[in-house]
Structure formats: structure tokens, C-alpha cells
Symmetry: D3
Subunit: 132 residues, 6 copies
């Protein structure tokens, strides 16, 4: 159960209503996902989060499927249940098959292991990125 009472999807609060409408229009969905209804308990923060997410989660130099795969990799590494669920669904919607999902997660798992081994042995960097 969430720690706050989720704001009603049909709220009349002008700032919240504007964000909720934009979420539904942008994502082409007819319900407001729970996380936004929780964030709406502080309307200013809701607006800050949504406008920033909307600005970042659009195709740019990096395509949308890659962006959702990054979001999934981060969410798995953070063990965020709600987020893993939501980004797994998003990658599937964008065409990632269950077997390819397994390949993505193989990389996620592999580097969670390699990260810890690198930290454990405290090895110094050997390849410095070329600074442009």
C-alpha cells in the first residue's frame, strides 16, 4: 500500500489536472499511472518531475528503445520493484522480445558482478577516456 493517499485521477486542482492531462496525451494512455498520483500530493514537485522526464524521454541522439533499456538497467541495479515492472512493460511495447530481454539482463547481471570484483581488488583505471 502506498504511504500517501493517491490523488484522484479526476481532481480539479488546476496544476495537477494540467499535468495529468499531459501525461495521458503524451503517453497515449487513458489512466494516470500510480507514481504520478502519489507525486501529485505536492503539485509543484509533480510538475518539476513530469516536465523534466518529458524533456529527457524523447528521441534525441539516443533512440527510445535504448532509453527504456537504460531505465530498466538502472531500475534493476537499484532493485526498484515498481520501476522494473514499468520499464519491462515499456521495452516489450517497443518490440523487445522475452529472449532479447534475457540478453539485456545478462549484461546487467554480468556488470553487477564485474563492478564488485573491480571494487574488491581496487584496481587503478588502465584506459583513460580521451578528453575532446
Amino acid at each position: 500500500m502506498s504511504t500517501v493517499k493517491l490523488v484522484d485521477e479526476n481532481t480539479k486542482h488546476p496544476k495537477v489536472k494540467a499535468v495529468f492531462d499531459d501525461i495521458k496525451a503524451t503517453k497515449k494512455i487513458d489512466r494516470v499511472p500510480n507514481i504520478w498520483r502519489a507525486l501529485a500530493t505536492n503539485p509543484d514537485h509533480l510538475e518539476l518531475c513530469w516536465t523534466r522526464l518529458k524533456a529527457i524521454m524523447q528521441p534525441g541522439k539516443v533512440d527510445m528503445l535504448t532509453k527504456e533499456i537504460i531505465a530498466l538497467a538502472v531500475s534493476v541495479t537499484n532493485s526498484c520493484r515498481y520501476c522494473i515492472n514499468s520499464h519491462t512493460a515499456a521495452t516489450q511495447k517497443l518490440g523487445l522480445s522475452t529472449e532479447a530481454l534475457g540478453e539485456v539482463l545478462a549484461v546487467v547481471g554480468l556488470y553487477n558482478q564485474m563492478n564488485k570484483l573491480s571494487d574488491a581488488y581496487q584496481v587503478e583505471p588502465d584506459i583513460l577516456p580521451k578528453l575532446e
Copy 2:
């Protein structure tokens, strides 16, 4: 400074030498990166790590740049200094520009924030992935 003495690149230990040679041939580099020289203090573990990494880090249903971007997203979320350095270099080698790197990291930063907000409000999943 690393917590173990790095194994010499020119070691004669047969199992270690075979892995070191394969690392240099596979990655087309002429030096063995430090992490592998540290892992070589336990030759069996070195071999297990390398064969598994080699099997996963080749193009399959997911291309190499996407795999390196996933590795970078995981490494940043785990704050692994050596790994961030190494995967930043790898993505640059595969053609990711500094500005596009900024876009990748924008997604990484965004979902580290959204993950914590989702956990904080303990919202229930609203979209169940369709199980095939």
C-alpha cells in the same frame, strides 16, 4: 593501490597465459587490463569470468554499443570508478559523442531519481507486463 599484487602480463602459468592471450586477441589490445591481472591471482575464477564475459559481450539480439551503454548505466548506478572509466572509453570507441554521452547519463540520472521516488511512496505496479 590494488589489494593484491597484479599478476605479471608475461606469466608462464598455462591457464592464466591462455586467458591473457585470448583477452588481447579478442579485444585487439596489446596490454592486459588491470582487472584481469588482479583476477589472475585465482586462475580458475579468472577463466570463469573471462569465458562468461566473452560469451555475453558479443553482438546478438542486442548490438555492442547498446551493451556497452547498459554496462555504463549499471556501473554509474553502482558508482564503480574503474568500470565507469572503462565503459565510458568503450562507448566513445564505438562512436558515442560526448554530447550523446550526456544524453545517456541524463536518462541514468533521471531514473535514479524516479526509482527512489517510487520506492518512497511505495506505489503498487499499475502495468503488468503481458506474459507471453
Copy 3:
């Protein structure tokens, strides 16, 4: 379900009973929270944990609401479900409104993002704290 059988609230074990009584008296509650009933499976550890928590969680140079807000910030960053629940309730009891909670969590979310961006770019510290 917990991984151990929770110790009965009315246990006669002298060390456990003494701690349980002190928890109820100190927190002015009439039930022993589940975490303490789990810790009671090792009475020495129960006593160590409780006496230390009691010594730290009292007003000192930092007031109780700030201490509970710190506890919530840590629990969210660690994604500890039980703890987020418990410290959200504690901050509410001490007067934090739902909207102010949103402001606290906005800061928590913001720095989870900024932490990762700082790690990702591996920037060197620019402000050294003045050592007194």
C-alpha cells in the same frame, strides 16, 4: 513473511522482556514492533541494537523531527520497505504534512540523481570543507 519466528511479545526471557518493556515505555506504545521481535531471536544483539538506537534517537544538537527525516532519507536511498513505512509514520506523528513530506522526498530524489551524475563524470571535489 519473516525469515524467523517472531518472539512472543509476552516472553518470560529476562533480557528480552526488559528490552521489550523499555521499548514500549520509551516509545509510549502498547505493542512491540515486529523488527524488535525478530531481533529478539538473539537476545544479546537485541539489547545492543536497542540501547544504541535509544542513545542516538533522542534530542541533542539535532531535534527529533530532523532525525526522523534523516532516517527516512536513508531508508528511501536504501529502498528499505519496512523502514520507509515506519519513518514516514514517525515524521507524520511529529507534524510533517503530506505536502511537506513531498518536499523532503523531492530533495531525496534530486540528490539520488545528482549523486549518480557526479559519479558518472568523476569530477574532482572543488570545495574542501574547512577543517577546524
Copy 4:
């Protein structure tokens, strides 16, 4: 060493220059901290980060010292070296003594321990926050 070349503080890039000027004016400092010079390699992301941080890091229902203490608690829990350094300095500037810092960190350390014990025993929540 940072993974990207830090953008020059005196850059003529209009969007970057505007943000750099605003950072110096808002924070009343005469140098641009390194993290912003790194973020400036992607000017759009720089602007998104700064405007959002500025909106959240001002006194509201929660005062500035409490906000910096939250930022420090998050940074310690994430082990972000640059951020711990920067927020330790910020809390000192706002008047937190070294001994009081010790009290703040005592709470941070305590709940990193209690979080893990709660997770380890997988106890169910006993206090549900009252939903308003």
C-alpha cells in the same frame, strides 16, 4: 580525473553562459563548481538540472539546513565522494558544528544498519501511515 573535458568557465555558448552566470549569482560564489562544468558538455541537460535543483533547493515548508542535511544523508548512503564533500561544506556554512555533524552521521550510520536488519528478517510493516 573527470571522464569528459570540463567546459571553460568563460565559455561564450549562450545557454551554458546563462546557466553559469545564474549559478554564480544564486550561490554567491565566483567560480563554477566542477559538476556544472561537466554537465555543460550537454547544454540542454545542464539547463534541466540547474533549473530543477534551483526550484527545489530554496526554503519552503522545509528550511535550507534541513535540506542540506537530507542531501548529505543521501550522499553518504550512496557513497558519493564529490557530493559528501560538497554537502559537508554546505552544512558547515549554514552553521552545523563538527560535533553536530557527528550526531547527524550517527543517525545516518544507525539506519544503514537498521535498514539491513529489517531487510534481513523480512518483517512485515506494523504501523501503517494514516492516509489523509
Copy 5:
């Protein structure tokens, strides 16, 4: 609910069937644990994971109970619910009593606290491991 449809325990897929049979024979159990049924959605990754785990999780210079205790310590520090559950059961099967489990977790909790205090004060290492 899992994010993928778990593969049937009686699948005819040759690679998956071979791994499932080996898991049951090696662990002397008559059901395939859920995590392996999820991994089986990508048969190559299933095989890589199982052969590697089997090679590491056998007595060597370190005995099996110590290895399961390490697995539990890692799982608690990562807050992995499924894994805490599974490794708590494994340590019990190998003879660890509930009170001794409390002692193991006391160490896990203690160092989660000390780790954060060490990071918070950013102290330099004082004891360098002797490199052989």
C-alpha cells in the same frame, strides 16, 4: 508476479531440460527453483549462469557453510528479497541455528553502519594489505 512467464519444469527444450535435470540432481531437490525457470526464457544465459554457479558453489579453499553465509551477507546488503529467503534456508539446512543467524546478521548490520561512517568522513586507508 514475475515479469516473464516461467518456463515449464517439464519442458522438452534440450538445452533447458539438460540444465533443469542437472540442477535437480546437483541440489538433490525435485522441483526447479523459480529463478532458473525465469532464466530459461533465454536458454544460453541459463546455461552460462548455472555452469558458473555450479563451479563456484562447491567446497574449495572455503567450505560450503561459509560460502552460503557470504551469499546471505551479499543478499542482505543488496536487499534482495528472493535471495535472502533462499540463502537463509540454505544456511539453516547446513546447520546454522536461529541464534547463530542473529550473530551473522549482527556483523552484516554492523558493517553496513561502519561502511557509511567511513565513507562519510572520507578517511584514508591506514593499513595497506601486504602484497605477496
Copy 6:
């Protein structure tokens, strides 16, 4: 550099001096490790931390080498540089060879990977620990 000025090893502060003397006597060392000199900036917290650590880090139902291995596993999973260094040295002092260290870290790396895969697929526990 540490964020606070380390307290002098020869301080006359009675509470701090008593703890420093006890640390040197208990650990049979002639210098006070840096973390304790940092914690001494808040003498009450120093005493709480030291007495608790001393109570837990003594042989009980679990021997000292296993306790130091647990401490190392936690520190690696948390990526705590100071702590990894210190506990690697401690396990070596207690007789763990470099190759056996590699076997310990193999388990640590393995379960950091398996933890993330378990979280990623969100599988339900299949083995419930028997509650005594």
C-alpha cells in the same frame, strides 16, 4: 582528505582517551586507525560505535575469520574503499591466502549478479525457511 580534522592520537579528552587506549589494547596495535580518530570528533558516538563493535567482533557461535569474511563481503557489496582495504588486511592476518581470497570474492561477485537477476525477473520465493 577526510572531511573533519582527525583527533590527535594523544588527546587528553578522558572519554576519547579511554576508547583510544582500549582500541590499541584490544586490537594489539600501537596506532589508532583513522576511522576512530574521525569518529572522535563526537566522543559519545565514538564510544557507542566502539563498544558495540567490540561486543560483536569477538568469537561466539561464529569464528573470527568468518566474521571478517562477512565484513569484507558487506564492504565489497557497498563499495566502501577504506573498509575493503581494512578487512582484506584483516582476513590476510587471520590466514586467508590470496587465492582463497579470490574464492571468497568469486562468491561475492556471483551473488551480486544473481541478486540482480532475481530482482529483474521478480520471481516469488520458492523455499520458505522453516520457522522454528
